[in-house]
C-alpha cells in the first residue's frame, strides 16, 4: 500500500491501473470472536458450553493467522447434546406449523441486524455465504414450514437429524440440509467441518435469538468427520445426512455401517462437471463464464471444458485473449503447488498445450489460470483432477458425442451447456446423467432448485420440495426400519461365502409327490441357475421339502443386470401411459392366474386359503394403483427468483436390486416391482429364502406379460450370497434390502464406491416382521415414499428473460 500511494495522478493517468483492493473490514466478526475469547465452545441447549479438559482445534484465516479455536466434543458431550436434542425435538414439533414458520422468518430479521457479523465471519473462515443467500433460504423454508401439514399431510418429521459436513463444505450446502430439516419439525445436530464451524455456531446463536426452542439446533465441533460417526452411534439419532467431499463421505459411510441409522451422502465437493460449448453457442459469453467458473478462488467442483470441433479454434483464441493478464489464483499450501506443477508437467509430457495468463511464479502458493488443451478422457488431469486453477479442454464432434463425453465420468453432479438452439439444449439436458443442468449459465443455486447428485455424486436430494422428503416419513409407518444397534464385528470379505445346505436328492422316488423344481427368471427367460444346482424350500413348519429352486449366484446377477441395463433406457423413454398399460396388463395376468398364486401362498406360508386369496386380490389392486400412478409422477416448473425457466424432472434410477421381504411374499413383491417399473426402472429381485414360491409362481405371469424381456428378473438362492453379488455390481444404482442386520451392515459398508442408494429394512427372523411395514396398507404417503425412492431428480435451468 505504501508504494502505491506515492503514485501521482499522472502516473495513474498513464497506467490506468486499478486501485489496490481495500482490505475488507472484519471488525464485527473479530469482536464476536473476542467476545468468545477466541475459543468457541459447543452450542448445546441454546448456549455455548465449554466442558473442561477437551482438546481444541485451531482455525486459521487465509493469511495463516490463527482466528480462533473450536472445542473437540467427546462422548459425554455427544450424549448431553443428544438428550438436549430430544427435548428440543419435543418442544419444536409440538409447535404449530405457523409458529415454526415464524421462527424461521424471525431469523431473517435477526440477520438484518447481524448480517455484517455473519458475512464477515464467513469471509474470514472462507465459508462464503452471503446474508442475502441465507435470507432467501430462510424465506423459502419458512413457507414450507408453514405449509407442511397442508401440502404434505400424512408425513411426520423423523426426529433428531445429524447434519455432518467435511472441512471444505460450504455454508450454503450445510444450510441446504439444516434448514429443511428444521422446517419439517426435526431437531438438528450440526457437526460442521472446520471452516463452517464458526459461522454455524454463530447462526445457532442467532436462531436462539429468533426464538428457536432450546435443543432444536445444537452444534458439535470436532477435529474431523469421525465425530459424525460417533454422533450417529447415539440411539436418539434418527437420520444422518452428510455433505462435503467424497473421501470423508466414504469414511463416514463405513464408520456408521451397522449402527442402524440411515445415512445419505452428498459428496458435491470435487465432482467433475462438464462445461459443454456447442457450435451454436454465444462463444464470447461462454468463454467469459467458463473462466469465471473454473478459476475462482474457492473452487468446489472441477470443470472440464468440452468444445465442438468446428469452433475449437475460435474458443481457444478467445481463451487466450481473455486469460491474458489475469492474476494468479492463491493455492492453499506449497504442497498443493507441487501437485499442480506435477499435474501440468504430466499433461505437457503427454502433449497437452497450455494457455496461461502469465508464467507461473517460480515458487509460491499460487498459480496462473491454465487451460490444458489437447487432453483426452484418458489423461490423468481429466481422470483424477488435481487441485488448482487447471481447466482441461476436450473436443467433441457431434451432439451425441458431447453427451457421451459429458457422461463419461463417475460423477453426476452438474453440467453447463451452451447453445442458442433450444431443441439441442433440451435434448442434451435430458440425456446428461447429472442432477443439475444449467443452459447458457453455470452454478445457478437457489433453495427451490433441487440438487441431486447422480451416480457417485450423492444419494439424496437437497433443496426444493423434493429435498424435504428426506426429513419426513409417512405418519402411518410405525417403527423405524432400522433399529439402532452396535456394529457387529464382521469380516466383510467372508460375508455371503458360508457353506450352504445343498439340495439333497430326495430319497423318495415317488414322482407324484416329489417336490416341484422351479426356475428363476433372467433376461425374459425362465431358466436354471448358471451353477446348475438347486436349493430346497422348506414347508412352513420346516418339516419337509416343498420345492426346489435354483441356487443363483454372481453370474446369474451379472446376466440379469446385463439384460436389465439393455432394456431399461427404452422402457424409461416409453410414454408413461404405455407403462401404465403394461402394468394393467400385468394385473390382468395375475387375476387370470389367481388360483395358482393363491395356492402357492397357502402352501408356502401356511396362511388359510381365504387369506391367501385376499393377498392375491390386494396384489391385483396394487398393480392397478401403480399403473394409475405412472403418469402422475411428474416434476414441474420452479419459481426461481431470477430471470429464467427452471424445471425439475424425476428420472428413474436405472437398475435396482431388491432383496424381497418375507412377509406377504406376493403383495410385497408386486408393490415393490410395480413402484420400480412404474417410474421407469428395471429390477432384479431376490425372493426371500424362506418364502420364495409365490414369487416364483409369479414368473408365469411375467412371462405372459408384454413387459420387455429383461426388465424384471427373479433370482433365487442364498440371500447373503446374492446380496454380495448385487452390492458388487456397479451398474446397479440402488439396493432395497429386507434381511439381516449383518446384511444391512455389509451393504452400508460396501456400497460406497460407486455409491448406491440404500433402503435397508432389518427383519427379525423369529417374528417375521420387516421394518414395521404393513404391506396391506396403501396410504398415499406410503406409495409416495416408495416412488420418491425409485427416482432421482434433475433440475434444468434455462436462463431466459
Amino acid at each position: 500500500m505504501a508504494g502505491s500511494t506515492t503514485k501521482t495522478v499522472y502516473d495513474l493517468f498513464q497506467s490506468m491501473e486499478c486501485a489496490p483492493a481495500a482490505p475488507s473490514g472484519d471488525a464485527t466478526a473479530q469482536a464476536w470472536l473476542d467476545h468468545h475469547s477466541r475459543s468457541l465452545g459447543l452450542f448445546v441447549d441454546s448456549k455455548f458450553v465449554r466442558p473442561a479438559d477437551r482438546q481444541s482445534c485451531s482455525l486459521a484465516d487465509s493469511k495463516g493467522r490463527v482466528l480462533c479455536s473450536t472445542t473437540c466434543a467427546e462422548e459425554a458431550d455427544i450424549s448431553q447434546c443428544a438428550s438436549s436434542a430430544v427435548n428440543g425435538l419435543e418442544a419444536w414439533r409440538s409447535l404449530s406449523c405457523y409458529q415454526r414458520s415464524k421462527v424461521l422468518l424471525r431469523l431473517v430479521g435477526v440477520l438484518g441486524q447481524h448480517g455484517q457479523c455473519v458475512s464477515e465471519l464467513c469471509e474470514l473462515c472462507e465459508a462464503s455465504c452471503s446474508p442475502a443467500t441465507l435470507v432467501r433460504m430462510l424465506q423459502y423454508y419458512s413457507s414450507w414450514a408453514e405449509l407442511r401439514d397442508t401440502l404434505m399431510s400424512n408425513w411426520t418429521p423423523l426426529g433428531v437429524v445429524a447434519v455432518v459436513s467435511s472441512d471444505d463444505c460450504s455454508l450454503y450446502s450445510l444450510m441446504l440440509k439444516v434448514l429443511p430439516a428444521l422446517a419439517m419439525g426435526n431437531s438438528v445436530i450440526i457437526v460442521p467441518g472446520r471452516c463452517t464451524a464458526p459461522p454455524a455456531l454463530l447462526l445457532a446463536q442467532l436462531f436462539t435469538a429468533a426464538g428457536l426452542p432450546a435443543g432444536a439446533l445444537n452444534v458439535l465441533t470436532g477435529s474431523d468427520v469421525t465425530l459424525g460417526a460417533k454422533v450417529a452411534q447415539n440411539p436418539n439419532i434418527s437420520y444422518v445426512t452428510y455433505s462435503g467431499n467424497k473421501q470423508d463421505g466414504v469414511m463416514l459411510s463405513k464408520a456408521t455401517a451397522g449402527m442402524g441409522v440411515p445415512l445419505s451422502v452428498s459428496p458435491y465437493i470435487g465432482a467433475t462437471c462438464p462445461f459443454i460449448i456447442f457450435e451454436t453457442a454465444d462463444l464470447d459469453s461462454a468463454v467469459d463464464e467458463v473462466i469465471e467458473a473454473a478459476f475462482k478462488k474457492r473452487r468446489e467442483v472441477c470443470w472440464v471444458l468440452c468444445v465442438q470441433e468446428n469452433v475449437v479454434d475460435r474458443v481457444v483464441n478467445r481463451l487466450k485473449l481473455r486469460l491474458a493478464g489475469r492474476k494468479c489464483v492463491a493455492l492453499s499450501s506449497d504442497a498443493e503447488r507441487d501437485l499442480v506443477d506435477a499435474a501440468v508437467q504430466e499433461a505437457e509430457h503427454q502433449g497437452a498445450t497450455l494457455i496461461q495468463s502469465c508464467a507461473p511464479p517460480p515458487s509460491a502458493a499460487q498459480y496462473p489460470p491454465t487451460v490444458l488443451c489437447g487432453v483426452a478422457p484418458a489423461s490423468p488431469c481429466v481422470a483424477t483432477p488435481s487441485p488448482g486453477p487447471l481447466l482441461p479442454l476436450m473436443i467433441f464432434r457431434s451432439n451425441t458425442e458431447a453427451v457421451t463425453l459429458g457422461n463419461h465420468s463417475p460423477h453426476g453432479l452438474a453440467a453447463s451447456i451452451w447453445t442458442e438452439d433450444l431443441t439441442l439444449a433440451l435434448e442434451t439436458a435430458k440425456s446428461l446423467a447429472v442432477g443439475s443442468v444449467w443452459v447458457n449459465s453455470h452454478s445457478v443455486l437457489d433453495p427451490c432448485l433441487p440438487v441431486s447428485g447422480h451416480k457417485d455424486s450423492g444419494t439424496s436430494t437437497d433443496g426444493g420440495q423434493e429435498g424435504l422428503f428426506q426429513f419426513l416419513c409417512p405418519s402411518s409407518s410405525s417403527s423405524p426400519p432400522l433399529p439402532h444397534s452396535s456394529p457387529i464385528p464382521m469380516d466383510y470379505s467372508k460375508f455371503g461365502t458360508g457353506a450352504r445346505p445343498t439340495a439333497v436328492i430326495p430319497g423318495d422316488s415317488n414322482t407324484a409327490s416329489a417336490p416341484q423344481s422351479y426356475l428363476q427368471f433372467v433376461g425374459g427367460k425362465a431358466c436354471k441357475s448358471v451353477s446348475g444346482s438347486s436349493v430346497a424350500v422348506q414347508s412352513p413348519g420346516g418339516g419337509s421339502v416343498l420345492a426346489y429352486c435354483p441356487d443363483g449366484g454372481r453370474k446369474d446377477v451379472r446376466n440379469a443386470v446385463e439384460a436389465a441395463a439393455k432394456v431399461q433406457p427404452g422402457w424409461m423413454k416409453k410414454a408413461p401411459s404405455a407403462r401404465a398399460q403394461s402394468l394393467h396388463a400385468l394385473a390382468k395376468g395375475l387375476e387370470a392366474k389367481r388360483r395358482d398364486l393363491s395356492t402357492s401362498i397357502h402352501v408356502q406360508t401356511g396362511l388359510s386359503v381365504d387369506e391367501a386369496d385376499r393377498e392375491v386380490e390386494l396384489s391385483v389392486g396394487r398393480l392397478s394403483v401403480w399403473a394409475a400412478y405412472c403418469d402422475k409422477i411428474q416434476g414441474g416448473s420452479l419459481p426461481v427468483p431470477k430471470p429464467g425457466t427452471a424445471l425439475s424432472i424425476p428420472e428413474p434410477l436405472g437398475v435396482l436390486g431388491v432383496v424381497l421381504p418375507e412377509k406377504n411374499p406376493l403383495l410385497s413383491m408386486v408393490t415393490i416391482l410395480a413402484a420400480a417399473i412404474a417410474t421407469g426402472n428395471a429390477i432384479i429381485m431376490v425372493p426371500s429364502e424362506k418364502n420364495p414360491l409365490p414369487v416364483l409362481a409369479f414368473i408365469q405371469v411375467l412371462q405372459s406379460s408384454d413387459l420387455p424381456a429383461g426388465l424384471v428378473n427373479v433370482i433365487t438362492g442364498s440371500r447373503d450370497q446374492l446380496t454380495v453379488a448385487l452390492a458388487n455390481h456397479s451398474v446397479i444404482k440402488a439396493i432395497w434390502y429386507w434381511g439381516s442386520a449383518e446384511g444391512c451392515q455389509y451393504l452400508q459398508h460396501t456400497c460406497t464406491s460407486p455409491l448406491k442408494t440404500l433402503r435397508l429394512f432389518c427383519q427379525k427372523d423369529e417374528e417375521g416382521s420387516d421394518g414395521g411395514k404393513d404391506w396391506t396398507r396403501s396410504d398415499p404417503a406410503l406409495l409416495e415414499d416408495m416412488w420418491r425412492n425409485a427416482v432421482e431428480w434433475k433440475s434444468v435451468w434455462i436462463s431466459t428473460a
Binding site: V9, T280, D282, R314
Partner: protein
C-alpha cells in the same frame, strides 16, 4: 451479382475465418449472459482517491464535447470550443501537476451547419482540436442516399475531421447487410481523410444479435469507430449493448488485426457512469483501448459532473455550479 455483393464477398474471402459467407447469419448472442456480464461489470469496485481522479481525467480526454440542438448558434458553439480546450480549471490541474499534460477533450461535436463556426473558434484559440460533425440525415437517417452523401462531403469541406454517420436502420432491420455495407462504404469514400464513426442506433435494432451484426458490417466497411446511438433514440448507450459491440470489436481485431474504436453516446451524465464505462472498456478490450484514438464518450453534461468530482478531490469541498466555468 451486384458490385456491392461482390465487394462484401471479396472482403469475406480475404479473411480465412470468414470464408463462409453465411458467417454473419450465424452470429449468436445470448441476451441473459450479456446482461449478467454487464451486471458483473457494474458491480465492480469503482476506483477511489487519486485513482478515481486519474480515471476521470482520462474520461475528460476521451469526451467528444457535444452540442446537437436546434438552437445552436455561433456563440454557444464558441463557448463549447473554449470549454473543450480547457475542460478543467487550470489552477486545479496545476495542483495535481496535470496542467502541462495536454488535458483537453478529444473533440467537439456539432451539426454540419455549425462546423464552420467551430473550426473558426478553435483556430482563433490556436487549438488543433478536431471538429466532429454528425451527418447522413442525423438522427433518423431517413433521407435519400444522395443527400446523405452530400452532407458528408460538405461537412468535410467545412473543416470537420471526424464524421459521425448514422446507419440506415431500415436496411439493418430487414437484414439487408450487404446493402448496408455498400452504403457505409460510400460514406467512407465521401469522408476522405476524415475519421468515420458509425452510429448503429442500437435502441432501434431490436436484438443484441442485430447489434453484433451491424457492428461487424460497419467495421468491414471501414469505420474507424463504432458508436452506440445518436442520443435521440428512446434507448441509448447501455452497458449490455456496449459489451456486445466491444465483443464484435474484439472479434474483428482477432480476425483482421485492425483495432476499431468504440464510442458510447447518449445519456451518460455522471462521473460515476464514466468510471463504469472505463471499467467496461478495460475489462472487455484492455488498457490499449483507453485512449482518445480508440475510445470516445459522446456527452454534453458529463463534463460538469466530472469537474465537480475533481474539484472535490483537489479542495476537499463540494463545488457550487457557479464555481466551475460553464460551457
Amino acid at each position: 451479382m451486384t458490385s456491392s455483393s461482390k465487394s462484401i464477398v471479396s472482403f469475406l474471402s480475404s479473411c480465412s475465418w470468414l470464408s463462409d459467407r453465411e458467417w454473419i447469419s450465424k452470429v449468436r448472442v445470448n441476451t441473459q449472459a450479456v446482461l449478467r456480464r454487464a451486471q458483473h461489470i457494474q458491480g465492480q469496485k469503482i476506483p477511489n482517491k487519486q485513482w478515481q481522479t486519474a480515471w476521470l481525467l482520462k474520461a475528460v480526454t476521451c469526451i467528444d464535447l457535444t452540442t446537437l440542438s436546434g438552437d445552436d448558434t455561433p456563440s454557444n458553439v464558441h463557448r463549447l470550443c473554449l470549454k473543450a480546450i480547457q475542460p478543467i480549471r487550470y489552477d486545479q490541474l496545476e495542483k495535481m501537476d496535470m496542467h502541462n499534460k495536454g488535458i483537453t477533450t478529444a473533440a467537439v461535436c456539432v451539426y454540419p451547419s455549425r462546423v464552420a463556426d467551430a473550426v473558426k473558434s478553435l483556430k482563433a484559440a490556436n487549438s488543433n482540436l478536431p471538429v466532429a460533425s454528425v451527418a447522413t440525415g442525423f438522427p433518423a437517417g431517413q433521407v435519400p442516399l444522395e443527400t446523405r452523401l452530400q452532407e458528408v462531403r460538405m461537412a468535410v469541406a467545412d473543416g470537420a475531421t471526424e464524421i459521425d454517420i448514422v446507419i440506415n436502420r431500415t436496411l439493418a432491420l430487414t437484414g439487408q447487410w450487404e446493402a448496408m455495407y455498400d452504403e457505409i462504404c460510400q460514406f467512407r469514400e465521401a469522408c476522405g481523410a476524415a475519421h468515420m464513426k458509425t452510429i448503429l442506433a442500437v435502441g432501434e435494432l431490436g436484438t443484441f444479435t442485430n447489434v453484433y451484426k451491424a457492428s461487424i458490417v460497419a467495421m468491414m466497411a471501414g469505420s474507424d469507430f463504432i458508436k452506440t446511438s445518436t442520443g435521440k433514440e428512446a434507448v441509448n448507450a447501455t452497458y449490455p449493448v456496449a459489451i456486445v459491440m466491444a465483443r464484435a470489436i474484439r472479434e474483428y481485431f482477432l480476425c483482421t488485426g485492425h483495432k476499431v474504436g468504440f464510442k458510447p453516446a447518449g445519456g451518460i451524465r455522471t462521473a460515476q457512469e464514466s468510471l463504469v464505462w472505463l471499467t467496461l472498456i478495460k475489462e472487455e478490450l484492455g488498457n490499449e483501448w483507453l485512449c482518445p484514438h480508440l475510445f470516445r464518450l459522446g456527452a454534453s453534461s458529463l463534463l460538469a459532473d466530472i469537474e465537480r468530482q475533481i474539484y472535490h478531490y483537489v479542495t476537499g469541498q463540494y463545488a457550487a455550479f457557479h464555481e466551475l466555468p460553464m460551457a
